[in-house]
């Protein structure tokens, strides 16, 4: 019998009143299988909503599960355990089903071994974490608040630090994840080279550096006394401005004008007289070498009583790591500043504070953000370069 005639005869039997089975048997049979199906369906949902199921993949068991065991959500004085689905699976029926379907992608990843080693997992971790942050930011940390509630917090029982930061947040109803990232697992590790900021800026790098033109470092750039890179001279900071004099292979010779404090070895170079905007840090020998670094007459900064001198230097740097237009840097910095510093209060206008006030203000705040070191340096440099000192000058 062909498939078609099989289906046809199935259909025929369906549309004909049964001759041999009673209506009672059909109703009861349908009713009971319905109950069994519904029970089975919910059991399946529940089984896939247990921690045991989540860690049945070694991808989860060997990484995030082990890390969870070091945290307060694994063992605490109240004895309440937060399990994976408590934090990761929505409780509303629709969103839960959507999340289960989304897991089909995870099954795919499992089958094809997308993160089957620790290295692959760590590489992917930032992306995975960003998905969870986006989800929790959108739903205002709903999963955390299934257990925690601002209204039930006893401020008197909390540390001063917690009260200081959290009471204003409670008034504005800010979601927990804004400040409590990495609460259950290690935060994604970032090497300077893998910063997502650098990745954005790499695309904007100047492809060839021409003599006589100005360029700006977009990442920390190692500099040398000579073109064969044999004698390190120090490091340029982000946004350091250089003027290229000549190119030779992968290296360029450049000159730079900056200021230093006449104190100690003068290794740290600053943007302008009296301004604590770092542009470079030199090796001690380089800083002391008067053939490389020529200093002008000292001037006294009345605010600190320190003498500052303008310095000119001529050194070598690799060609990669520069943009032609500093606004390329500021665009990226501005976006990062707006994203990271607006969680608890509107981010202050950069020109609300002076160049020298920003570093202390910034370092007091940056611990509450998820910025990587490069991003921190970029945003601080951006703030300093757009501070009240600069808005007055221009």
């Amino acid at each position: 019998m062909s498939i078609k005639s099989l289906i046809l005869s199935f259909w025929d039997t369906l549309r004909t009143p049964p001759a041999t089975i009673s209506l009672g048997v059909i109703s009861i049979g349908g009713f009971i299988t319905g109950i069994i199906f519904w029970g089975g369906f919910n059991t399946a949902l529940e089984v896939t909503n247990t921690e045991k199921f989540c860690i049945s993949c070694h991808e989860m068991a060997d990484n995030v599960y082990l890390e969870l065991q070091e945290t307060v959500h694994w063992s605490n004085r109240t004895g309440v355990r937060a399990t994976c689905p408590d934090c990761h699976v929505p409780h509303e029926w629709d969103n839960k089903i959507a999340r289960k379907m989304q897991a089909s992608k995870e099954v795919w990843g499992k089958v094809f071994g997308t993160i089957n080693t620790r290295e692959k997992f760590l590489e992917k971790r930032e992306e995975l974490a960003r998905h969870e942050w986006a989800r929790l930011e959108a739903n205002n940390s709903l999963e955390c608040r299934n257990c925690h509630d601002y209204d039930s917090m006893d401020w008197d029982a909390m540390s001063d630090e917690a009260v200081f930061y959290m009471q204003p947040a409670a008034e504005r109803n800010v979601g927990c994840i804004e400040c409590h990232k990495g609460i259950a697992h290690h935060l994604p590790e970032r090497e300077p080279g893998t910063s997502h900021i650098i990745a954005q800026l790499d695309g904007r790098a100047a492809s060839s550096l021409k003599g006589g033109e100005d360029y700006f470092a977009y990442k920390p750039v190692k500099i040398y006394e000579n073109s064969d890179m044999s004698t390190p001279a120090g490091t340029l900071n982000l946004a350091a401005k250089i003027e290229v004099t000549q190119a030779s292979g992968d290296m360029v010779e450049f000159t730079m004008t900056a200021w230093r404090k006449n104190k100690g070895y003068g290794r740290v170079l600053y943007d302008d007289f009296g301004m604590n905007t770092r542009v470079a840090v030199l090796e001690r020998e380089t800083a002391q070498d008067e053939e490389i670094v020529t200093a002008g007459t000292p001037q006294m900064d009345d605010n600190t009583g320190l003498d500052w001198s303008e310095v000119k230097l001529s050194l070598w740097a690799p060609k990669s790591g520069f943009v032609a237009d500093p606004s390329q840097l500021w665009e990226v910095a501005e976006a990062s500043y707006a994203e990271s510093c607006s969680g608890c209060h509107a981010q202050p206008d950069p020109d609300h504070f002076s160049t020298n006030a920003w570093p202390a203000l910034f370092s007091g705040m940056v611990g509450f953000t998820n910025m990587d070191p490069i991003e921190q340096e970029l945003v601080l440099t951006y703030l300093q370069n757009h501070s009240s000192d600069h808005s007055d000058a221009h």
Partner: protein, 57 residues
């Protein structure tokens, strides 16, 4: 009743039971799962496009 099924009561008994069991044990559960899964899939895709669901407290 169509003429093909009359007369042979053993044959129609078999056929009716098979049809009943196939329908309630296989076809309908499969359809139910497909509908729920399809609904979840549509939601997922809408979340991919519109971003994750938001909740106001």
């Amino acid at each position: 009743m169509p003429s093909t099924t009359s007369g042979n009561s053993v044959g129609s008994r078999r056929r009716e039971w098979t049809t009943f069991l196939v329908l309630t044990l296989i076809v309908l559960p499969a359809l139910a799962v497909a509908f729920v899964g399809g609904y979840g899939f549509v939601l997922w895709m809408s979340q991919v496009i519109n971003g994750p669901p938001t909740v106001d407290f």
